[in-house]
């Protein structure tokens, strides 16, 4: 009996052991334990300020989100390319011109890449630039008032993705086409003629040093591939800009497969100082192109839209020394220049390596003519001649790289959902942390400056799933804050973001905080319809237009009773906020107006249009809680039928003016 038991038991035991051993060999996951003092590192006590401003693009929201770091608190959304009914941006008469384009008024766009203005390669906190991807435009925001003050459209451009990227002294803001298209001058061709007719354009917008005013200086006519992202050279590579290009296969359909065939696509290196010289020498050709230039004047609080008619184009095929292609694996996406300007890394999102090119080697290759033929007339530098080294087995789907101040690089890997830290010179991988989930871009404060603020890295993710309380199928995008001050990265905070931050820039709060405007001086207000005192408030009829010159101050409007308006009139409420104190805005809305409200800041004038659709009494009121008697801040408008003779009457209290 014993033998039989023994054999059976042995047999069963062997089987169970085999099962146990095989199933316990599970590959280890990279887990990030939250460091013990994470909470204290991100807690900003009530009444205290954050260390940094984070400017994150809104992506498909078309706006810019401003957060404080390290708390991750959302401070503001600046409306840029999308209407904002909350404060009347794109609805008020003064701001409507901001959203004008050569196609007419467009209420929305897709904003991707914020870039802070810089001086001597360091963020200076004066302006923030951002691109519109759909109807190509570049916008500039004033960081003293946090308002969008200028938008310029880019002609001959589509899918304005590699945009805007700024040179080290904000000489130029550069934008490029992701979708190559036939130039505006001769547009109607069959799609299959992509290789012959579709071209790329790289736009150099000059920025005035003092005022920040933009002006489309010139465009480079380049081969029709997809220009994805770019960064300007700095330090030793100042004067050059670098772009990643994919779809060197020049496919026009089913790019998922057709643009992923070639083993290597390109990095485009542009010597923009040389291009400037050619323009000065008159080598540029002026071609017709329609695009708008919209400017918001901050003294008159009024935007104007100007239609431009021509653009200067340099054909790089005919002008040697401007453009060089460098082969790069495979369908590259992000490109980054290290703080010294010597190393340029491009991430091939379908490759497993990140090539690091050396600027001095590129210069030598050009001097020695170490070329591998050309692509559409532009010399292609030999890969090995330009390459400093490759970062191997970095992760799956490497996308973007930023730098700290210790010679390290941080690359985001989308498919393996992680940030990988590596040394720029040795190419050794030093650390990895998971992100939750599927990281796209990442941001090191001043990470593209000559002296980065190397304390944090922020992961901007694409997939949220279970990170926060669920809110139905449509979820916010998640972001994580990591401490990179030590050897290993530490996860500190996980916070939701608005829209979809494709990229973000961050800088210490001091400069911006100091210059932030508290209110506008009423005496400096040059708006055409300003009303500087209550005595000057009036209602004036000009044909079928009625202009209401209105003031508001705690807690009443002048006038607040208006008669003599008729159905179908174009009524313009020019509302001036007479307050001269901090954080006392007033709102304005009229019943039944198919328009938004106004939010008028102290010292500001804004105009809201109304076309009454029916006779009767229409109330209006202040929509932003301004004072103890905010509820009393209201008024009435009497609308008479078409053709009636009701005289214009207006006033507040017992006084009636005519």
């Amino acid at each position: 009996m014993k033998t039989k038991h023994f054999k059976l038991t042995l047999f069963l035991a062997t089987v169970l052991a085999a099962v146990g051993i095989l199933s316990s060999c599970k590959p280890k996951k990279v887990d990030s334990a939250l460091s013990g003092d994470a909470a204290s590192k991100v807690y900003v006590a009530p009444g205290k300020y954050d260390e940094l401003y984070l400017f994150a693009s809104g992506g498909f929201s078309g706006q810019v989100g401003i957060y404080g770091l390290p708390s991750g608190r959302l401070l503001k959304q600046i409306p840029v390319f999308s209407q904002n009914p909350e404060n009347g941006y794109g609805y008020s008469e003064e701001t409507k011109p901001m959203l004008m384009t050569s196609h007419g008024y467009i209420p929305w766009d897709d904003s991707h890449h914020p870039q802070l203005s810089r001086t001597n390669g360091q963020d200076d906190g004066r302006w923030l630039f951002i691109n519109a991807n759909n109807t190509p435009r570049i916008a500039r925001m004033d960081l003293t008032t946090f308002k969008t003050v200028e938008i310029i459209e880019l002609p001959n451009c589509a899918g304005n993705h590699a945009s805007p990227f700024i040179t080290p002294n904000t000489e130029y803001v550069v934008g490029a086409t992701r979708f190559s298209v036939p130039y505006d001058a001769s547009p109607d061709v069959p799609i299959s003629s992509y290789k012959e007719n579709f071209k790329g354009s790289i736009s150099f917008v000059k920025v005035d040093k003092e005022t920040g005013r933009m002006n489309l200086s010139f465009q480079l006519l380049v081969p029709g591939v997809d220009y994805d992202l770019s960064k300007a050279g700095k330090g030793v590579s100042d004067g050059w800009a670098f772009f990643t290009c994919y779809n060197s296969e020049e496919a026009h359909t089913f790019l998922e497969v057709n643009a992923s065939q070639r083993d290597k696509d390109f990095v485009l290196a542009i010597n923009w100082k040389k291009a400037e010289e050619y323009v000065k020498d008159g080598k540029g050709k002026k071609i017709p192109a329609k695009y708008v230039h919209n400017v918001y004047d901050e003294k008159s609080f009024t935007a104007t839209s100007e239609m431009m008619n021509e653009v200067t184009v340099l054909d790089v095929k005919d002008l040697p020394g401007i453009c060089y292609y460098i082969p790069c694996p495979k369908s590259p996406h992000g490109i980054a220049v290290d703080p010294t300007g010597e190393y340029i890394c491009a991430s091939g999102k379908l490759a497993a390596v990140v090539p690091v090119f050396s600027f001095s080697k590129i210069q030598k290759a050009i001097a020695d003519k170490a070329f591998d033929g050309d692509f559409e007339g532009i010399p292609v530098i030999k890969y090995e001649a330009a390459l400093d080294g490759e970062v191997n087995k970095i992760g799956l789907g490497p996308l973007h790289t930023e730098f700290d101040d210790k010679g390290n690089a941080y690359t985001s890997c989308f498919i393996s959902s992680e940030i990988v830290k590596w040394n720029v010179k040795t190419k050794q991988i030093l650390d990895r942390v998971p992100t939750y989930y599927s990281i796209g871009h990442l941001c090191v404060p001043m990470g593209d400056n000559i002296h980065p603020y190397g304390k944090y890295v922020i992961a901007l993710n694409k997939i949220t799933k279970d990170r926060y309380l669920p809110t139905g199928p449509e979820l916010c995008q998640s972001a994580q804050l990591y401490d990179i001050s030590g050897d290993k990265m530490q996860l500190l905070l996980d916070f939701p973001t608005i829209g979809e931050p494709h990229y973000a820039q961050a800088m210490p709060a001091d400069i911006i905080k100091k210059n932030s405007v508290k209110f506008f001086k009423i005496d400096s207000n040059t708006n055409k319809y300003v009303t500087k005192t209550e005595k000057e408030a009036r209602v004036v009829r000009q044909g079928n237009e009625v202009h209401v010159y209105m003031t508001c101050i705690r807690s009443h409007f002048v006038p607040d009773n208006i008669e003599g308006i008729k159905v179908g009139d174009n009524v313009y409420f020019h509302v001036t906020n007479l307050e001269q104190d901090w954080d006392v805005p007033h709102g304005f809305a009229v019943k039944g107006n198919d328009n938004s409200e106004l939010l008028v800041m102290p010292g500001e004038t804004q105009t809201l249009k109304w076309v009454p659709d029916r006779a009767g009494i229409s109330p209006f009121y202040c929509t932003d809680f301004c004072s103890a008697l905010h509820q009393e801040m209201q008024g009435y408008i009497r609308v008479s039928p078409v053709g009636s003779n009701t005289p214009i009457k207006f006033g507040t209290g017992d006084e009636e003016n005519k």
Partner: protein, 214 residues
């Protein structure tokens, strides 16, 4: 010794009955884990169909050029239910008849099914992992994506695990027991033979002694 012990027959009968339920549940599972899939993905292989997150898996796999998993491409699903029914019938017949040779047939059939199952699964996995679309977007030279036969395996950003599911255990468990019963019965038979041989020898010995004494 042609007849089996009563408790052997009961055990075989119970095992055979248990196997029936494997027709109504998932037999094998492939689990997929990835950083961006905190909820995990699962593919269930039943005796007559495929279930689980097949659509999601097919959606992901096309980036690396893997073929779509479609139920109609598996002739196994027409055959497997009958193979399992045969296991059940054989088991019940063995229990009813109580014949040793039936137990031999039963156990051999189970082992044969096990070997065939493993081989067929490995063959499909190899084909699935190696037969890649040359025009796929992501091509990593030298990489193949055969899912593991048993246990865990890392493939790019996915950790894949291949294990029996409930139905699988309902077949494997009883099969091991039935083979165990056969071993037990064989040992018992040999023991019995030895005892009988010893008894005869002892009898002969005694007989010789008696003869000698007489």
């Amino acid at each position: 010794m042609k007849t089996l012990k009563i408790y052997s027959r009961i055990i075989v009968g119970v095992c055979a009955t248990a196997m029936v339920f494997s027709l109504f549940v998932s037999v094998w599972q492939i689990q997929l884990e990835a950083p961006q899939y905190p909820e995990g993905l699962k593919m269930e292989i039943w005796s007559h169909k495929i279930a689980g997150d097949i659509d999601k898996i097919n959606g992901l796999n096309h980036y690396i050029g893997m073929a779509q998993i479609k139920e109609q491409n598996f002739p196994e699903f027409k055959v497997m239910p009958w193979l399992i029914i045969a296991m059940v019938v054989l088991g019940l017949l063995t229990a009813a008849s109580g014949k040793r040779f039936m137990l031999w047939i039963n156990a051999s059939y189970l082992v044969f099914c096990g070997i065939w199952g493993v081989w067929d699964f490995w063959r499909w996995e190899y084909h699935y992992g190696h037969n890649l679309n040359p025009h796929a977007a992501i091509i990593i030279p030298g990489m193949a994506y055969d899912p593991p036969l048993f246990g865990w395996k890392q493939m790019l950003n996915f950790t894949a695990g291949s294990f029996p599911d409930i139905g699988g255990w309902l077949i494997i468990g009883p099969s091991i027991v039935i083979v165990g019963v056969l071993i037990f019965e064989q040992v018992r038979k040999h023991k019995n033979k030895e005892q009988k041989t010893q008894q005869r020898e002892t009898q002969l010995h005694h007989a010789k002694q008696s003869n000698a004494a007489a």
